[in-house]
Symmetry: C2
Subunit: 256 residues, 2 copies
Protein backbone atom coordinates (compact mmCIF):
# COMPACT_ATOMS: atom_id res chain seq x y z
CA UNK A 1 0.00 0.00 0.00
CA UNK A 2 1.19 3.54 -0.78
CA UNK A 3 0.09 6.46 1.39
CA UNK A 4 0.26 9.93 -0.07
CA UNK A 5 -0.51 13.28 1.54
CA UNK A 6 -1.72 16.10 -0.64
CA UNK A 7 -3.20 19.55 -0.57
CA UNK A 8 -6.95 19.69 -1.05
CA UNK A 9 -8.40 23.20 -0.91
CA UNK A 10 -5.74 24.37 1.59
CA UNK A 11 -6.25 21.27 3.78
CA UNK A 12 -3.75 18.41 4.08
CA UNK A 13 -5.39 15.05 3.32
CA UNK A 14 -4.24 11.47 3.07
CA UNK A 15 -5.02 9.19 0.18
CA UNK A 16 -4.12 5.69 -1.00
CA UNK A 17 -2.22 5.55 -4.27
CA UNK A 18 -3.14 2.62 -6.52
CA UNK A 19 -1.01 0.91 -9.18
CA UNK A 20 -2.88 2.91 -11.83
CA UNK A 21 -1.66 6.19 -10.20
CA UNK A 22 -5.19 6.96 -9.05
CA UNK A 23 -5.62 8.22 -5.51
CA UNK A 24 -8.48 7.08 -3.29
CA UNK A 25 -9.09 9.92 -0.81
CA UNK A 26 -9.63 8.84 2.81
CA UNK A 27 -11.12 10.40 5.90
CA UNK A 28 -8.66 10.13 8.77
CA UNK A 29 -5.04 9.08 8.45
CA UNK A 30 -2.85 5.97 8.50
CA UNK A 31 -1.88 6.50 12.16
CA UNK A 32 -5.19 6.94 13.97
CA UNK A 33 -7.47 5.12 11.54
CA UNK A 34 -9.19 5.94 8.26
CA UNK A 35 -12.00 5.05 5.93
CA UNK A 36 -11.95 5.25 2.16
CA UNK A 37 -14.19 7.78 0.44
CA UNK A 38 -15.69 7.62 -3.04
CA UNK A 39 -13.39 10.44 -4.22
CA UNK A 40 -10.83 9.32 -6.80
CA UNK A 41 -8.10 11.72 -7.95
CA UNK A 42 -5.31 11.51 -10.50
CA UNK A 43 -1.78 11.68 -9.15
CA UNK A 44 -0.89 14.34 -11.75
CA UNK A 45 -3.72 16.59 -10.55
CA UNK A 46 -2.77 16.93 -6.88
CA UNK A 47 -0.08 18.91 -5.17
CA UNK A 48 1.91 16.52 -2.97
CA UNK A 49 2.87 17.42 0.58
CA UNK A 50 5.50 15.74 2.75
CA UNK A 51 3.91 12.41 3.69
CA UNK A 52 4.09 13.12 7.44
CA UNK A 53 5.04 15.94 9.84
CA UNK A 54 6.71 14.06 12.70
CA UNK A 55 6.32 14.75 16.42
CA UNK A 56 10.07 14.04 16.61
CA UNK A 57 12.40 13.98 13.59
CA UNK A 58 15.23 11.48 14.13
CA UNK A 59 18.20 11.15 11.80
CA UNK A 60 21.16 8.80 11.82
CA UNK A 61 24.32 10.80 11.14
CA UNK A 62 27.00 8.27 10.30
CA UNK A 63 25.81 4.84 9.20
CA UNK A 64 27.68 3.96 6.00
CA UNK A 65 31.43 3.41 6.07
CA UNK A 66 32.36 5.22 2.83
CA UNK A 67 30.42 8.35 3.83
CA UNK A 68 31.99 8.35 7.29
CA UNK A 69 35.45 8.40 5.71
CA UNK A 70 34.53 11.33 3.43
CA UNK A 71 33.37 13.19 6.55
CA UNK A 72 36.68 12.42 8.27
CA UNK A 73 34.91 10.90 11.30
CA UNK A 74 35.61 7.82 13.44
CA UNK A 75 33.40 4.76 12.88
CA UNK A 76 30.66 4.83 15.55
CA UNK A 77 30.69 1.94 18.02
CA UNK A 78 26.97 2.15 18.86
CA UNK A 79 23.80 3.53 17.26
CA UNK A 80 23.53 7.11 18.61
CA UNK A 81 20.64 8.78 16.80
CA UNK A 82 20.48 12.54 16.11
CA UNK A 83 17.79 15.08 15.23
CA UNK A 84 16.58 17.27 12.38
CA UNK A 85 13.95 20.05 12.35
CA UNK A 86 10.45 20.20 10.85
CA UNK A 87 10.84 23.74 9.47
CA UNK A 88 13.18 22.34 6.81
CA UNK A 89 10.78 19.75 5.33
CA UNK A 90 9.56 20.18 1.74
CA UNK A 91 7.67 17.85 -0.58
CA UNK A 92 8.60 16.10 -3.81
CA UNK A 93 8.91 18.55 -6.74
CA UNK A 94 9.42 21.61 -4.50
CA UNK A 95 12.59 23.71 -4.83
CA UNK A 96 15.47 23.60 -2.40
CA UNK A 97 16.44 27.24 -1.82
CA UNK A 98 20.18 27.73 -1.29
CA UNK A 99 20.87 30.99 0.59
CA UNK A 100 23.38 33.35 -1.05
CA UNK A 101 26.04 32.45 1.55
CA UNK A 102 25.61 28.69 1.07
CA UNK A 103 28.52 27.72 -1.17
CA UNK A 104 29.01 23.98 -0.57
CA UNK A 105 25.58 22.36 -0.69
CA UNK A 106 25.47 18.54 -0.95
CA UNK A 107 22.68 16.00 -1.26
CA UNK A 108 22.40 12.91 0.96
CA UNK A 109 19.93 10.31 -0.34
CA UNK A 110 18.41 8.35 2.54
CA UNK A 111 15.89 5.66 3.44
CA UNK A 112 13.27 7.03 5.87
CA UNK A 113 11.45 4.82 8.39
CA UNK A 114 7.99 6.06 9.46
CA UNK A 115 6.73 4.85 12.86
CA UNK A 116 3.10 3.72 12.92
CA UNK A 117 2.46 2.79 16.55
CA UNK A 118 3.46 4.07 19.98
CA UNK A 119 6.33 1.88 21.20
CA UNK A 120 8.71 1.54 24.13
CA UNK A 121 11.18 -1.20 25.14
CA UNK A 122 10.87 -3.12 21.91
CA UNK A 123 12.54 -6.44 21.19
CA UNK A 124 14.00 -7.11 17.73
CA UNK A 125 11.01 -9.28 16.81
CA UNK A 126 8.53 -6.50 17.71
CA UNK A 127 10.04 -3.75 15.59
CA UNK A 128 8.31 -4.50 12.27
CA UNK A 129 4.86 -4.22 13.89
CA UNK A 130 5.53 -0.62 14.99
CA UNK A 131 6.64 0.58 11.52
CA UNK A 132 4.02 2.03 9.17
CA UNK A 133 6.28 2.14 6.14
CA UNK A 134 9.15 3.78 4.30
CA UNK A 135 9.83 6.81 2.17
CA UNK A 136 12.78 8.76 0.74
CA UNK A 137 14.65 11.70 2.28
CA UNK A 138 17.33 14.04 0.98
CA UNK A 139 19.38 15.24 3.97
CA UNK A 140 20.67 18.39 2.19
CA UNK A 141 23.77 19.77 3.93
CA UNK A 142 25.96 22.85 3.66
CA UNK A 143 29.44 21.48 4.40
CA UNK A 144 31.14 24.77 5.38
CA UNK A 145 28.50 25.45 8.03
CA UNK A 146 28.67 21.81 9.11
CA UNK A 147 32.41 22.27 9.73
CA UNK A 148 32.27 25.64 11.50
CA UNK A 149 28.97 25.87 13.43
CA UNK A 150 28.78 24.26 16.86
CA UNK A 151 25.56 22.45 15.89
CA UNK A 152 23.81 21.37 12.66
CA UNK A 153 21.18 24.11 12.87
CA UNK A 154 21.98 25.88 9.56
CA UNK A 155 24.04 23.15 7.89
CA UNK A 156 21.19 20.64 7.97
CA UNK A 157 18.02 22.57 8.92
CA UNK A 158 17.88 25.72 6.79
CA UNK A 159 14.35 26.06 5.34
CA UNK A 160 13.81 23.63 2.39
CA UNK A 161 16.91 21.52 3.25
CA UNK A 162 14.87 18.39 4.03
CA UNK A 163 12.99 17.17 0.93
CA UNK A 164 10.94 14.04 1.66
CA UNK A 165 8.55 11.84 -0.28
CA UNK A 166 6.94 11.27 -2.66
CA UNK A 167 4.85 8.84 -0.57
CA UNK A 168 5.04 6.14 2.13
CA UNK A 169 5.21 2.52 0.94
CA UNK A 170 4.17 -0.11 3.45
CA UNK A 171 5.56 -3.23 1.73
CA UNK A 172 9.18 -3.10 0.66
CA UNK A 173 12.22 -5.32 1.08
CA UNK A 174 14.34 -2.96 3.18
CA UNK A 175 17.24 -5.38 3.50
CA UNK A 176 17.88 -5.35 -0.25
CA UNK A 177 17.25 -1.84 -1.48
CA UNK A 178 19.47 0.21 -3.71
CA UNK A 179 19.71 3.99 -3.48
CA UNK A 180 20.57 5.78 -6.74
CA UNK A 181 21.11 9.53 -6.88
CA UNK A 182 21.29 11.49 -10.13
CA UNK A 183 22.12 15.16 -10.77
CA UNK A 184 20.52 16.45 -13.99
CA UNK A 185 19.98 12.86 -15.06
CA UNK A 186 23.58 11.70 -14.55
CA UNK A 187 24.16 9.05 -11.87
CA UNK A 188 26.47 10.31 -9.13
CA UNK A 189 25.89 7.94 -6.20
CA UNK A 190 24.73 4.32 -5.79
CA UNK A 191 24.71 2.21 -2.64
CA UNK A 192 22.78 -0.60 -0.95
CA UNK A 193 20.92 -0.66 2.36
CA UNK A 194 22.86 -3.84 3.09
CA UNK A 195 25.93 -1.64 3.75
CA UNK A 196 24.41 0.03 6.83
CA UNK A 197 26.65 -0.11 9.90
CA UNK A 198 23.68 -0.46 12.28
CA UNK A 199 20.37 -1.74 10.95
CA UNK A 200 16.92 -0.23 11.36
CA UNK A 201 15.92 -2.77 14.03
CA UNK A 202 19.08 -2.22 16.07
CA UNK A 203 18.48 1.53 16.10
CA UNK A 204 14.85 1.23 17.07
CA UNK A 205 15.47 -1.34 19.82
CA UNK A 206 18.22 0.81 21.35
CA UNK A 207 16.23 4.04 21.08
CA UNK A 208 13.15 2.45 22.61
CA UNK A 209 15.03 1.52 25.79
CA UNK A 210 15.13 5.23 26.68
CA UNK A 211 12.38 6.91 24.71
CA UNK A 212 8.85 6.36 23.49
CA UNK A 213 8.37 6.34 19.74
CA UNK A 214 5.09 7.92 18.60
CA UNK A 215 2.97 7.47 15.46
CA UNK A 216 4.40 9.74 12.78
CA UNK A 217 7.92 9.89 14.24
CA UNK A 218 10.46 9.17 11.55
CA UNK A 219 14.06 8.03 11.39
CA UNK A 220 16.30 8.97 8.46
CA UNK A 221 18.80 6.12 8.14
CA UNK A 222 21.93 7.90 6.85
CA UNK A 223 23.71 8.00 3.51
CA UNK A 224 26.72 6.66 1.67
CA UNK A 225 29.13 8.11 -0.85
CA UNK A 226 29.74 11.74 -1.70
CA UNK A 227 27.89 14.54 -3.49
CA UNK A 228 29.23 17.13 -5.92
CA UNK A 229 28.75 20.80 -4.93
CA UNK A 230 25.25 21.56 -6.19
CA UNK A 231 24.70 24.53 -8.48
CA UNK A 232 21.75 26.83 -9.24
CA UNK A 233 19.32 24.96 -11.46
CA UNK A 234 20.54 21.42 -10.66
CA UNK A 235 17.83 18.77 -10.36
CA UNK A 236 18.55 15.99 -7.87
CA UNK A 237 16.63 12.71 -8.05
CA UNK A 238 16.88 10.12 -5.28
CA UNK A 239 15.46 6.70 -6.21
CA UNK A 240 15.11 3.81 -3.76
CA UNK A 241 14.03 0.33 -4.82
CA UNK A 242 10.27 0.03 -4.37
CA UNK A 243 9.83 3.58 -3.05
CA UNK A 244 9.83 5.65 -6.24
CA UNK A 245 11.82 8.81 -6.90
CA UNK A 246 12.13 12.03 -4.90
CA UNK A 247 12.85 14.93 -7.26
CA UNK A 248 13.88 18.47 -6.27
CA UNK A 249 15.45 21.37 -8.12
CA UNK A 250 18.14 23.38 -6.32
CA UNK A 251 17.84 27.15 -6.64
CA UNK A 252 20.23 29.85 -5.47
CA UNK A 253 18.56 32.86 -3.94
CA UNK A 254 20.03 36.35 -4.25
CA UNK A 255 19.01 37.17 -0.70
CA UNK A 256 21.27 36.72 2.26
Amino acid sequence: MRWIRYNDDAQSRYGILGDDDRITAVNGNPFEGYEKTSTILRLDDVQLEVPVIPPTFYAVGLNYVKHISTEGKAIPTKPDVGYRANNALIAHDRDVIMPADATRVHYEGELVVVIGKKARNLRLDDVDACILGYTIGNDVSERNWQATDRTFWRAKNTDTFKPMGPWISTQVDVANMETVVTVNGRETTRFGTSDMLFGIKEFIVDMSRYLTLYPGDMIWMGTDGESPNLQHGDTVEVTLTGLGTLTNRFVKTGEL
Copy 2:
Protein backbone atom coordinates in the same frame (compact mmCIF):
# COMPACT_ATOMS: atom_id res chain seq x y z
CA MET B 1 -1.77 37.20 30.87
CA ARG B 2 -1.04 33.59 31.85
CA TRP B 3 -1.87 30.73 29.48
CA ILE B 4 -2.25 27.26 30.91
CA ARG B 5 -2.91 23.97 29.17
CA TYR B 6 -4.73 21.26 31.07
CA ASN B 7 -6.41 17.93 30.69
CA ASP B 8 -10.19 18.05 30.43
CA ASP B 9 -11.82 14.65 29.99
CA ALA B 10 -8.81 13.27 28.05
CA GLN B 11 -8.66 16.39 25.82
CA SER B 12 -5.95 19.07 26.02
CA ARG B 13 -7.47 22.53 26.45
CA TYR B 14 -6.13 26.02 26.94
CA GLY B 15 -7.30 28.39 29.65
CA ILE B 16 -6.40 31.83 31.00
CA LEU B 17 -5.19 31.85 34.59
CA GLY B 18 -6.32 34.85 36.64
CA ASP B 19 -4.66 36.42 39.68
CA ASP B 20 -7.15 34.57 41.89
CA ASP B 21 -5.88 31.21 40.52
CA ARG B 22 -9.16 30.67 38.68
CA ILE B 23 -8.95 29.41 35.10
CA THR B 24 -11.22 30.75 32.36
CA ALA B 25 -11.54 27.96 29.81
CA VAL B 26 -11.27 29.03 26.16
CA ASN B 27 -12.23 27.56 22.82
CA GLY B 28 -9.24 27.63 20.51
CA ASN B 29 -5.69 28.42 21.54
CA PRO B 30 -3.32 31.37 21.94
CA PHE B 31 -1.69 30.75 18.55
CA GLU B 32 -4.59 30.53 16.11
CA GLY B 33 -7.18 32.52 18.05
CA TYR B 34 -9.57 31.84 20.91
CA GLU B 35 -12.72 32.94 22.64
CA LYS B 36 -13.43 32.78 26.34
CA THR B 37 -16.14 30.42 27.58
CA SER B 38 -18.29 30.71 30.69
CA THR B 39 -16.46 27.76 32.28
CA ILE B 40 -14.38 28.72 35.34
CA LEU B 41 -12.11 26.14 36.98
CA ARG B 42 -9.89 26.15 40.05
CA LEU B 43 -6.15 25.71 39.42
CA ASP B 44 -5.99 23.03 42.13
CA ASP B 45 -8.69 20.99 40.39
CA VAL B 46 -7.06 20.56 36.98
CA GLN B 47 -4.20 18.39 35.81
CA LEU B 48 -1.65 20.62 34.07
CA GLU B 49 -0.09 19.62 30.76
CA VAL B 50 3.04 21.08 29.17
CA PRO B 51 1.90 24.51 27.94
CA VAL B 52 2.76 23.75 24.31
CA ILE B 53 3.98 20.86 22.12
CA PRO B 54 6.31 22.60 19.67
CA PRO B 55 6.61 21.92 15.93
CA THR B 56 10.37 22.37 16.50
CA PHE B 57 12.05 22.26 19.93
CA TYR B 58 15.10 24.56 19.97
CA ALA B 59 17.56 24.69 22.86
CA VAL B 60 20.63 26.83 23.45
CA GLY B 61 23.43 24.62 24.74
CA LEU B 62 26.08 26.95 26.09
CA ASN B 63 24.94 30.47 26.95
CA TYR B 64 26.21 31.25 30.47
CA VAL B 65 29.93 31.53 31.17
CA LYS B 66 30.08 29.69 34.51
CA HIS B 67 28.15 26.71 33.13
CA ILE B 68 30.37 26.56 30.04
CA SER B 69 33.43 26.28 32.27
CA THR B 70 31.88 23.42 34.31
CA GLU B 71 31.23 21.64 31.00
CA GLY B 72 34.86 22.17 30.00
CA LYS B 73 33.84 23.79 26.69
CA ALA B 74 35.16 26.80 24.74
CA ILE B 75 33.11 30.01 24.87
CA PRO B 76 30.93 30.09 21.71
CA THR B 77 31.66 32.98 19.33
CA LYS B 78 28.18 33.01 17.75
CA PRO B 79 24.66 31.88 18.67
CA ASP B 80 24.41 28.31 17.28
CA VAL B 81 21.10 26.86 18.46
CA GLY B 82 20.54 23.14 19.10
CA TYR B 83 17.56 20.78 19.40
CA ARG B 84 15.67 18.72 21.92
CA ALA B 85 12.90 16.13 21.42
CA ASN B 86 9.18 16.23 22.19
CA ASN B 87 9.03 12.69 23.60
CA ALA B 88 10.90 13.93 26.68
CA LEU B 89 8.43 16.69 27.67
CA ILE B 90 6.50 16.37 30.94
CA ALA B 91 4.35 18.85 32.85
CA HIS B 92 4.75 20.56 36.21
CA ASP B 93 4.30 18.11 39.12
CA ARG B 94 5.03 15.01 37.00
CA ASP B 95 7.90 12.70 37.97
CA VAL B 96 11.22 12.58 36.14
CA ILE B 97 12.02 8.88 35.76
CA MET B 98 15.76 8.13 35.98
CA PRO B 99 16.56 4.80 34.25
CA ALA B 100 18.52 2.28 36.33
CA ASP B 101 21.71 2.96 34.34
CA ALA B 102 21.46 6.77 34.75
CA THR B 103 23.93 7.54 37.52
CA ARG B 104 24.79 11.25 37.05
CA VAL B 105 21.53 13.09 36.49
CA HIS B 106 21.64 16.91 36.76
CA TYR B 107 19.03 19.66 36.50
CA GLU B 108 19.40 22.74 34.30
CA GLY B 109 16.91 25.52 35.10
CA GLU B 110 16.12 27.55 31.98
CA LEU B 111 14.04 30.40 30.62
CA VAL B 112 11.85 29.21 27.72
CA VAL B 113 10.72 31.52 24.89
CA VAL B 114 7.47 30.53 23.14
CA ILE B 115 6.99 31.79 19.57
CA GLY B 116 3.53 33.18 18.80
CA LYS B 117 3.70 34.10 15.11
CA LYS B 118 5.27 32.75 11.93
CA ALA B 119 8.46 34.72 11.34
CA ARG B 120 11.40 34.87 8.93
CA ASN B 121 14.22 37.42 8.46
CA LEU B 122 13.41 39.38 11.60
CA ARG B 123 15.14 42.58 12.65
CA LEU B 124 15.92 43.16 16.34
CA ASP B 125 12.97 45.54 16.68
CA ASP B 126 10.53 42.96 15.26
CA VAL B 127 11.39 40.11 17.62
CA ASP B 128 9.09 40.99 20.53
CA ALA B 129 6.03 40.96 18.26
CA CYS B 130 6.63 37.32 17.29
CA ILE B 131 6.95 36.05 20.89
CA LEU B 132 3.82 34.81 22.66
CA GLY B 133 5.42 34.57 26.10
CA TYR B 134 7.76 32.74 28.44
CA THR B 135 7.79 29.68 30.65
CA ILE B 136 10.26 27.55 32.64
CA GLY B 137 12.18 24.48 31.50
CA ASN B 138 14.38 21.96 33.28
CA ASP B 139 16.89 20.59 30.74
CA VAL B 140 17.57 17.38 32.71
CA SER B 141 20.85 15.78 31.62
CA GLU B 142 22.73 12.54 32.31
CA ARG B 143 26.36 13.66 32.30
CA ASN B 144 27.98 10.27 31.65
CA TRP B 145 25.88 9.76 28.51
CA GLN B 146 26.53 13.36 27.52
CA ALA B 147 30.26 12.63 27.65
CA THR B 148 30.25 9.26 25.87
CA ASP B 149 27.39 9.26 23.32
CA ARG B 150 28.00 10.86 19.93
CA THR B 151 24.79 12.90 20.23
CA PHE B 152 22.52 14.12 23.06
CA TRP B 153 19.79 11.57 22.31
CA ARG B 154 19.79 9.77 25.71
CA ALA B 155 21.66 12.37 27.77
CA LYS B 156 19.07 15.06 27.14
CA ASN B 157 16.03 13.34 25.58
CA THR B 158 15.25 10.23 27.60
CA ASP B 159 11.48 10.15 28.32
CA THR B 160 10.55 12.63 31.13
CA PHE B 161 13.90 14.51 30.92
CA LYS B 162 12.28 17.79 29.76
CA PRO B 163 9.90 19.15 32.45
CA MET B 164 8.27 22.40 31.33
CA GLY B 165 5.69 24.80 32.79
CA PRO B 166 3.70 25.49 34.81
CA TRP B 167 2.22 28.03 32.33
CA ILE B 168 3.13 30.69 29.74
CA SER B 169 3.32 34.31 30.97
CA THR B 170 2.98 36.98 28.30
CA GLN B 171 4.23 40.01 30.30
CA VAL B 172 7.54 39.62 32.07
CA ASP B 173 10.76 41.64 32.29
CA VAL B 174 13.06 39.11 30.62
CA ALA B 175 16.14 41.32 30.91
CA ASN B 176 16.03 41.28 34.72
CA MET B 177 14.92 37.83 35.78
CA GLU B 178 16.51 35.65 38.38
CA THR B 179 16.51 31.86 38.19
CA VAL B 180 16.59 30.04 41.54
CA VAL B 181 16.82 26.25 41.77
CA THR B 182 16.22 24.30 44.97
CA VAL B 183 16.64 20.61 45.75
CA ASN B 184 14.34 19.43 48.56
CA GLY B 185 13.85 23.08 49.52
CA ARG B 186 17.54 23.98 49.76
CA GLU B 187 18.84 26.55 47.26
CA THR B 188 21.57 25.11 45.04
CA THR B 189 21.74 27.49 42.05
CA ARG B 190 20.95 31.19 41.45
CA PHE B 191 21.69 33.29 38.36
CA GLY B 192 20.34 36.20 36.34
CA THR B 193 19.17 36.37 32.72
CA SER B 194 21.46 39.41 32.41
CA ASP B 195 24.42 36.97 32.37
CA MET B 196 23.43 35.41 29.04
CA LEU B 197 26.24 35.34 26.49
CA PHE B 198 23.84 35.90 23.56
CA GLY B 199 20.42 37.41 24.23
CA ILE B 200 17.03 36.16 23.10
CA LYS B 201 16.77 38.73 20.31
CA GLU B 202 20.23 37.95 18.94
CA PHE B 203 19.38 34.25 18.77
CA ILE B 204 16.03 34.79 17.09
CA VAL B 205 17.37 37.31 14.54
CA ASP B 206 20.21 34.95 13.57
CA MET B 207 17.98 31.87 13.43
CA SER B 208 15.38 33.66 11.32
CA ARG B 209 17.92 34.42 8.59
CA TYR B 210 17.93 30.71 7.71
CA LEU B 211 14.72 29.25 9.08
CA THR B 212 11.07 30.06 9.57
CA LEU B 213 9.86 30.15 13.15
CA TYR B 214 6.32 28.80 13.59
CA PRO B 215 3.65 29.41 16.24
CA GLY B 216 4.36 27.08 19.16
CA ASP B 217 8.06 26.67 18.44
CA MET B 218 10.08 27.22 21.58
CA ILE B 219 13.65 28.10 22.45
CA TRP B 220 15.20 27.02 25.76
CA MET B 221 17.77 29.69 26.60
CA GLY B 222 20.47 27.71 28.47
CA THR B 223 21.53 27.51 32.10
CA ASP B 224 24.20 28.66 34.51
CA GLY B 225 25.96 27.06 37.45
CA GLU B 226 26.14 23.40 38.38
CA SER B 227 23.78 20.74 39.74
CA PRO B 228 24.43 18.08 42.36
CA ASN B 229 23.89 14.46 41.29
CA LEU B 230 20.16 13.96 41.83
CA GLN B 231 18.96 11.04 43.92
CA HIS B 232 15.78 8.97 44.07
CA GLY B 233 13.07 11.02 45.78
CA ASP B 234 14.67 14.46 45.27
CA THR B 235 12.28 17.30 44.48
CA VAL B 236 13.67 20.00 42.18
CA GLU B 237 11.99 23.41 41.99
CA VAL B 238 12.96 25.96 39.35
CA THR B 239 11.64 29.48 40.01
CA LEU B 240 11.98 32.37 37.54
CA THR B 241 10.96 35.92 38.39
CA GLY B 242 7.40 36.48 37.19
CA LEU B 243 6.99 32.95 35.79
CA GLY B 244 6.21 30.93 38.91
CA THR B 245 7.79 27.63 39.93
CA LEU B 246 8.28 24.39 38.01
CA THR B 247 8.30 21.44 40.46
CA ASN B 248 9.25 17.85 39.66
CA ARG B 249 10.21 14.86 41.76
CA PHE B 250 13.06 12.65 40.52
CA VAL B 251 12.42 8.91 40.77
CA LYS B 252 14.81 6.05 40.06
CA THR B 253 13.27 3.13 38.22
CA GLY B 254 14.37 -0.45 38.80
CA GLU B 255 14.03 -1.23 35.12
CA LEU B 256 16.85 -0.94 32.68
